[in-house]
């Protein structure tokens, strides 16, 4: 942590996209042997700064100095050759290749014009051992491992190049607590070897646990650079969102909500022993109008699979599903939507966004699909709805013609939420609607969910954050090892209670 020469020194970086100034004169330094956290809300410019450093975007203004030499990387490969390795939030590996092939892809040791497979294996094993991942068979196919393990393999790949700088963009968002600890121990090992680590995460506890220094961005501008030890958590939050703490506390305060009367009416949706071979089983849940049902469970416990069954994205082959009192088989998402069910996937990029279309087109998509191609939603209605939802959900930039791929993650999430709200569903299934989203937007979305339920909408809410599930839900269904183990009414239930169920051997 000495004030030695920085490995990376970025000065006055500016980048503009059509209609958006993504970065405006930002300075950033990274020293060898430190873990440096880059913090800011969605759209603050974190990803853009990383992409500027790794050669994905060319900078409009400013200088980048790496190891004392001025650089302007044209491609990520050039950045990598200069010693900067990046592990992105979404795993960017080849799922159909083996672990060892992925680790050494493009850098395979050669012999007589061919690949020296024995060395490939040896090198892969070496780097896996260093990261305490020796239990992974280098010959196994990458896709046979969990996302968490794939993430660690991506880091192994990054380390194999002898990187001087390692950039970790939201590396923990799909890891469970043990895996996070494993990752952190790897990070510390690397730091002690003098690697400069740039760490981006929305989990502030993790930032405080692992980082030495932090840089805060807001709206594309630099707020400041701080030593982690000097900046208390509340101070950090107020710097990130630029609001006084009182206002934040007010925002956090959950609205008190009328409790739905479960006995009174027929439930909107009722599943009995719903399941699908190879997916989940024993899903027995009831959702009334105005009720929020939380799905809790560990990663891979079957939360998403349950949501997909309820939405017809996968077809159930066991059990019974009744909607509004009548038994239904949902064969396609279309048939679920026609029964006023909506589903916002956890996988924004692959299952939500139509990246090359505008915000307006994306907003209107589900409504248009419902009307069929023949009856086009009139342009004036489209514009009006787009403007209305951009305002109510505070979507930024407030430009309905912007391409959705140019928006930040949190704003994309809001657009996808709005896509479903426009269709006025009776049941909204939200799979991780707050994942990878900053505190400000997160509270906004939580408030929105609570407000929708007060208005009579049923909600199935999925989140990896148990605290969030407890705060919002009226009832909590607990999943474990791909089947449902408990159904707990949320009256004074504590985190520990739910965790006991998740951990317990029986229910």
């Amino acid at each position: 942590m000495s004030e030695s020469t920085p490995v990376v020194d970025m000065k006055g970086i500016s980048i503009a996209f059509p209609g958006v100034k993504a970065l405006d004169g930002v300075d950033f330094r990274l020293f060898p042997g430190e873990v440096h956290a880059l913090l800011g809300e969605n759209g603050a410019g974190k990803s853009t700064l990383i992409k500027a450093l790794t050669g994905v975007y060319a900078v409009d203004d400013g200088t980048i100095t790496v190891l004392g030499a001025r650089q302007s990387f044209g491609t990520p490969a050039e950045a990598q050759a200069a010693g900067i390795s990046t592990v992105y939030q979404e795993v960017n590996l080849c799922p159909n290749l083996s672990v060892e092939e992925n680790i050494l892809l493009g850098r395979e040791p050669r012999r007589r014009g061919g690949i020296h497979w024995r060395n490939v294996r040896r090198k892969a094993e070496e780097v896996l051992d260093q990261l305490q991942l020796g239990h992974i068979d280098p010959r196994s196919v990458l896709s046979s491992h969990s996302i968490a393990v794939q993430q660690l393999i991506a880091i192994a790949r990054a380390m194999q190049v002898e990187a001087r700088v390692l950039i970790l963009d939201e590396p923990t968002s799909s890891l469970d607590a043990d895996e996070v600890q494993q990752l952190f121990s790897v990070i510390r090992t690397l730091r002690d070897r003098g690697v400069a680590i740039l760490f981006v995460s929305h989990f502030l506890e993790q930032v405080y646990e692992v980082s030495d220094r932090m840089t805060v961005l807001r709206n594309g501008r630099l707020v400041g650079e701080y030593l982690t030890a000097d900046l208390p958590r509340m101070g950090l939050i107020s710097k990130m969102i630029g609001k006084e703490l009182d206002a934040l506390a007010e925002l956090e305060e959950a609205e008190s909500r009328r409790q739905p009367d479960r006995a009174e009416r027929t439930p909107f949706l009722q599943a009995e022993g719903l399941g699908r071979k190879g997916s989940v089983r024993d899903v027995t849940i009831t959702v009334h109008a105005g009720e929020i049902l939380g799905l809790a469970g560990l990663l891979g416990s079957g939360r998403t699979e349950t949501a997909r069954l309820l939405f017809g994205a996968d077809r159930a082959d066991q059990g019974r599903l009744s909607i509004n009192g009548s038994v239904r088989t949902l064969r396609t998402p279309r048939s679920a939507i026609d029964r006023d069910i909506a589903f916002s996937s956890e996988n924004r990029k692959e299952e939500g966004l139509i990246s090359d279309l505008s915000v307006r087109d994306n907003l209107i998509l589900a409504m248009q699909a419902g009307k069929g191609w023949w009856r086009r939603v009139p342009r004036s209605t489209q514009d009006q709805l787009a403007e209305q939802f951009i305002e109510t959900l505070d979507i930024r930039p407030a430009n309905k013609d912007a391409l959705i791929r140019d928006l930040s993650g949190g704003n994309q999430q809001k657009v996808l939420l709005a896509r479903w709200l426009i269709t006025e569903p009776k049941l909204l299934i939200l799979d991780e609607p707050t994942r990878g989203i900053d505190i400000g937007a997160k509270t906004q979305i939580q408030k929105l969910i609570s407000g929708l339920a007060s208005g009579g909408m049923s909600i199935v809410f999925i989140s990896a954050e148990l605290e969030e599930v407890l705060r919002l839900s009226d009832t909590i269904a607990v999943l474990k090892d791909r089947h449902m183990v408990a159904d707990i009414p949320n009256d004074g239930v504590t985190m520990e209670d739910v965790m006991t169920v998740i951990a317990g051997t029986g229910a």
Binding site: I15, A16, V56, Y57, A58, D60, S72, G74, F311, A313, T332, P333, R334, I337, F343, S345, E350, E351, G352, L353, I354, S355, D356, L357, D361, L365, A366, Q368, A369, G370, K371, G372, W373, W374, R375, R376, V377, R419
Partner: protein, 343 residues
């Protein structure tokens, strides 16, 4: 100005204009259109008329490509349509009446629709990759056409039938009117309804589209049926123009011209955003190029190479990456490079 330079139609239109001017340089009367016997005549009219089949097929191809697919079978479908209608007229008891021609045309169009249904079925229901699914018909289709014509070139003499490819109406060649009509209908159908947006959505992200409730299967199916229809009508034009059905050579390689027209017009082969006007410009460039070859007196053996050269220049002009590279060499300041894969 810079907005104009970035517009995706700027470069193709510029290329077309340059090509036309080049022709004018070598033949002073190239751009003139005269009226003779109440009909419009001139090189420009010829380009439009001879290009009509390519325009039609490229039109269908644009929507297929926008949906992330491709239709290689259009040439074969065109040959089948020509074969069926000519064979019907040839073997009917009254081969010169307009009723016979109308019946032949109807059967051929229905066949085109049926073949489009087949392609659409393979792609959207069975889930075969479009390039393979349509390759089946590309290969088998020529064989089907040969079976229909019994391996012969079938010549017909029917004035009504001949009118489709060679006739005039209100001073304009009927082929041009048909192509223009199809163009207008497709434009209205995709942009006045939501069909265009939904096709783009399916082309950009099929999974997300399905989850948003779009009936992706029907959309995909529809574009292949439309492509089959366009190919059949184009096949009728081709065979009508020469009053004969040639199962082997009618519409040969027209799928390549059509794909090229779509790409020159700025629609990405990866699917998604498309431009019908761009496709029109692309098809016209290709047809003008063929004419240019004759105007310039390029030796026949060099024709294909010459065409390829022009095409590669147009594609390079369109590629933002190529333009950036070119600009960087003159001016060392880096432009904001667009991270788009240029085709």
């Amino acid at each position: 100005m810079s907005a104009l330079l970035r517009h995706r139609l700027t470069w193709p239109v510029l290329a077309l204009v340059l090509l036309l001017l080049l022709n004018q340089l070598f033949r002073a009367d190239f751009l003139s259109v005269r009226i003779q016997d109440g009909h419009l005549y001139g090189s420009l009219i010829d380009i439009l008329r001879n290009g009509a089949p390519t325009i039609l097929i490229a039109l269908g191809m644009t929507l297929v490509i926008a949906s992330r697919g491709i239709d290689l079978s259009v040439g074969a479908v065109a040959a089948i349509a020509g074969a069926i209608s000519c064979m019907y007229i040839y073997s009917s008891p009254d081969p010169s009446s307009w009723q016979t021609a109308a019946m032949g045309v109807t059967i051929a169009v229905v066949a085109g629709l049926a073949l489009g249904l087949w392609n659409g079925f393979l792609v959207s229901v069975i889930g075969i990759q479009p390039i393979i699914a349509t390759l089946v018909l590309m290969t088998a289709g020529r064989g089907l056409a040969q079976l229909v014509t019994d391996g012969q070139i079938i010549s017909v003499s029917n004035d009504s039938y001949q009118a489709i490819g060679a006739g005039f109406f209100l001073g304009l060649p009927i082929a041009i009117l048909i192509a223009a009509g199809a163009f207008g209908v497709a434009g209205l159908l995709t942009r006045r309804t939501a069909l265009g947006t939904l096709i783009e959505a399916v082309g950009i992200n099929p999974v997300a589209s399905r989850l948003a409730g779009i009936d992706a299967r029907t959309i995909t199916w529809t574009v292949y049926v439309f492509s089959g229809l366009c190919a059949a009508v184009a096949g009728l034009m081709i065979s009508s123009n020469v009053t004969a059905a040639d199962a082997n050579n009618a519409g040969l390689y027209i799928e390549m011209d059509a794909i090229l027209a779509v790409v020159i017009g700025g629609t990405s082969l990866a699917g998604g955003r498309y431009s019908l006007v761009g496709t029109l410009v692309g098809a016209l460039i290709i047809q003008t190029l063929t004419t240019t070859v004759y105007t310039l007196g390029v030796p026949p053996e060099a024709t294909l190479v010459f065409k390829a050269l022009v095409v590669i220049i147009v594609c390079l002009l369109q590629s933002s990456r190529a333009r950036t590279l070119f600009r960087q060499r003159r001016r060392p300041v880096t432009e904001q490079s667009q991270v788009k894969v240029a085709i």
